[in-house]
């Protein structure tokens, strides 16, 4: 089945990943800028186009595969990770991406999502989080804000939203990241990191739905204030933010909490600022940062929360297969195989 061996890895450009079908998203939809970044990111890795598969569920976001010039499956609402897992376990040489929405991944698809995180099969999962059901025209989603008025919650949503990175970390994800549709270069960097990661890589992309949930991320995108509202996490760098980069996140050992401090004030130096480490095996700090996003008065972290290398589900599966093959005496013929156990012969 490995028709892939002999495939060359040509030098691609963005165009090489455009299927030629024009996207059918609404004017101004955040999905446009995301696909743009994906198509810019893919060439770098030089993976033959035909060895890449995009798998999606159902939703506006899930139309994605139609616009990529790769193999693709537009499947069933919430189930994309299960197809992707089958593809990757069957053909580990393929690069498999999952494109999903907040409802697709976390409402109906929540179980497949957490099991993907747990198994660490090498899938890159991009979740476009517009905090609403777009395709069905505006119902509450598991990431909609508490109390949010939507078509199915006219008096406000009674549900507390998921914190997707926290959920993924709780499920054991080895790679967890976040970016924003409008922050092209940043998004590109995060996508690259996801592509390079071996194992399940979960990327939450804040995406604006101008039609049914416009401005959900205004507070992060707004040019004037974004320096204060975004915390750009970078591996090995102190967690600084703010216009002049003087604000920072300090870890308070006494209270075991994070706090916002200002370098230069009250004797705070850069040395007091928490240095970001995506490779910590213990997910606690990543979890803490993920939850920080939800706490008022704190900036919203974007970038990579965690990037830890563990044997992937597909590696483990195929190691077991290879071991079994190695252990087996010469390939058994069909008859030998069928004759295992007790047999008798009729003349």
């Amino acid at each position: 089945m490995s028709t892939t061996q002999d495939a060359p890895a040509p030098a691609y450009t963005k165009k090489d990943f455009e299927s030629g079908v024009d996207p059918r998203w609404c004017p101004g939809c955040g999905d446009y800028s995301i696909i743009n970044q994906v198509q810019r990111t893919l060439p770098a890795a030089g993976v033959p186009r035909e060895n890449i598969v995009f798998v999606s569920g159902i939703g506006c976001s899930s139309r994605f595969p139609y616009y990529m010039r790769n193999y693709g499956m537009h499947t069933i609402h919430g189930r994309a990770p299960s197809f992707a897992t089958g593809i990757k376990l069957s053909r580990p040489e393929l690069q498999v991406w999952v494109v999903t929405g907040d409802g697709d991944a976390l409402a109906i698809g929540g179980n497949h999502f957490i099991h993907a995180c747990r198994r660490n099969v090498d899938l890159k999962i991009l979740m476009f989080n517009n905090r609403i059901y777009g395709l069905t025209k505006g119902q509450v989603s598991p990431t909609s804000e508490f109390g949010k008025k939507t078509k199915t919650t006219p008096h406000g949503s009674p549900d507390y939203p998921f914190n997707p990175p926290a959920l993924a970390l709780g499920a054991g994800a080895t790679f967890v990241a976040r970016s924003i549709d409008v922050e092209g270069p940043h998004l590109g960097g995060v996508l690259k990191a996801a592509q390079d990661h071996e194992g399940t890589a979960f990327v939450e992309v804040f995406q604006n739905c101008p039609v049914f949930n416009d401005g959900a991320y205004e507070f992060l995108a707004d040019k004037a204030s974004k320096a204060d509202t975004q915390l750009r996490m970078e591996h090995g760098k102190p967690l600084l933010f703010g216009k002049d980069g003087k604000k920072g996140i300090r870890f308070n050992p006494r209270t075991v909490t994070l706090e916002v401090v200002t370098v230069g004030e009250g004797g705070i130096t850069e040395a007091d600022i928490l240095v970001h480490d995506v490779q910590r095996e213990d997910p606690t700090l990543a979890f803490m940062l993920a939850n920080m996003g939800a706490t008022p008065g704190f900036p919203t972290p974007i970038g990579v929360f965690r990037d830890v290398r563990l044997p992937t589900g597909d590696e483990i599966t195929w190691n077991l297969i290879d071991q079994a093959k190695a252990a087996a005496k010469k390939p058994a013929s069909l008859t030998e195989f069928l004759s295992q156990g007790e047999t008798w012969t009729v003349k």
Binding site: M1, S2, T3, T4, A7, S19, V21, P48, R49, E50, N51, I52, V53, F54, V55, P65, Y66, R69, N70, Y71, G72, M73, H74, T75, I76, R79, P81, S82, F83, A84, T85, G86, I87, L89, S90, R91, E93, L94, N111, H112, H115, T317, L320, I321, A324, K325, A327, P331, A332, S333, L334, T335, L338, S339, E342, T343, W344, T345, V346, K347
Partner: protein, 619 residues
Amino acid sequence: MATQTTPSRLKVAEVEAVTIRFVGDSGDGMQLTGAEFTRASALAGNDVATFPDFPAEIRAPAGSLAGVSGFQVNVGAKDVHTPGDTPDVLVAMNPAALKTNLADLKPGGLLLVNTGAFTPGNLEKAGYAANPLEDPSLRSKYRLIGVDMNGLTDAALAGSGLSAKEVARCKNYFALGLLQWLYSRPADQEAESIRRKFAKKPELAAANLKVFEAGYSYGETSEIFFERYAIPATKLAPGTYRTVTGNHAAALGFAAVAKTSGKQVFFGGYPITPSTEIVQELSKWKEHGVVTFQAEDEIAGIGSAIGAAYAGALAVTATSGPGLALKVEMMGLAVIAELPIVIVDVQRGGPSTGMPTKTEQADLLMALFGRHGEAPMPVLAAQSPADCFWGAIEAMRIAVKWMTPVLLLTDGYLANGSEPFRIPDASELPKIEPRYATAPNRDGKYMPYLRDEKLVRPWAIPGTPGLEHRVGGLEKDSLTGMVSYDGANHELMVRTRAQKIRNVIEDVPDVAIDGPEQGDVLLVSWGGTYGSVRTAAERLRAEGKAVSHVHLRWLNPLPKNLGAILRRFPKVLVPEVNDGQLAFYLRGMFPGVDPVSHTRINGKPLRVSELVEKVHQIL
């Protein structure tokens, strides 16, 4: 192979066939005893059919009625199609077992009882006010033989140093020894088998062997029997044989596909009784090209299989009713995406959780019609435990040839029942050769829905340069596969998908009539009832009745010649273990045909006697 046996003081009577049921507490090892007797009978060249009947999945309290476990085996000199209706011999290891099974024993049948277990405590647990063995009516009705197997087992193992518990667990070998002696089985073979089985625990091997021999010689020495029996070897087709259960056979079938096609067989599924042994077997065979994946649920199980199919694997999932219900949406996707995958449904008692360990045939209409929208797919059903091997291979061949999901129906009886299986030669297996597309098929472009003359679409798999394409659940343009909301295109696609499945008829052999081409009654069956119905037809013809039998392996499409045959018989009787689903289906498919429906829904295979009676009624 002749039935060599030790010289005996008793004369040996030849019998054509015998049905023996071993019953005891879940802890008494009746399944093992039954399986061993079956093995010995098969090795002796007899034809066999078995029916294990164990309690609900959770262990019931020892000695309780709910805890009774049984194993019935039918051993014969002629073709054996069923495990037999009513046992000729009942081996009851405790009161609860006697209480729950006595009613089934043939009048005058041999009732072999382990008297040692008839303690006040056990009698009470079984709800016996008095000891039934002391009730004279029992002796008048049956050939009652009481043996204190507990005591004799203790005696045999006195000083063995085994714990009382370990000793107790040996007594089933006493019963086995006695029966092997009674049916003139050579003792030595059992010795081998015991050594193999307890290789890791030599002390237990020794103990069980000792007890087996005690039972064996007890028959010879004690004065309780006045004759022994021998069943002449059956004239099975020449070849090498083994016994298989239906689930084991299905697993062997899928693995055989991997070996003969050289392609990866991918199994994605989720455990559910009574289908689980299929994946349990397949998981052992990694070196034979089988990849198995236990998913988080049935939906993800079939989802992974469909994904693997898109990637080029020969994909399988297996489940039972509740799991099939969960796979419905996914089956619809496989239909519209036209990807090959086999779904095995091992039917069990329903609805809902129902009776997980009991058999039933009530998923037929769901298999045929249980999907939203127009989503036809081929449906076939295995007819015996060994036939599950051939059913699995045929289902996969059809799926790949026609690029479609295929449903293979089996049931709890086939799954756990066993019979001899002639090991085929590779050359006897149908070839399965996926033709993956390698080049564009229309002016330099790849059109995923450009069909061949049989209406089959090509199968291009990831890794193939230039054939990048997308499949999905939205209606697709009949050529390019792009999303299309055009009404005319939708109508074309719905009708084309339906026609493609109708075209599968070219792979559906005409049904063969067992019995006269024309007659008074035609019995029509499908799936696991084959054995009972075939045997009933044979008996009725032996009585001189003009009764024929047609068995359906194919449910969709139905065989070309079926309609004509149905119309040839004044009366058509359709016996099923459901509420009349095939009868309804035949009425709907063949206007004018109005079969008599005979239904039984008690979790057990159909009884031959019941069918014979029914035919007498309608004749």
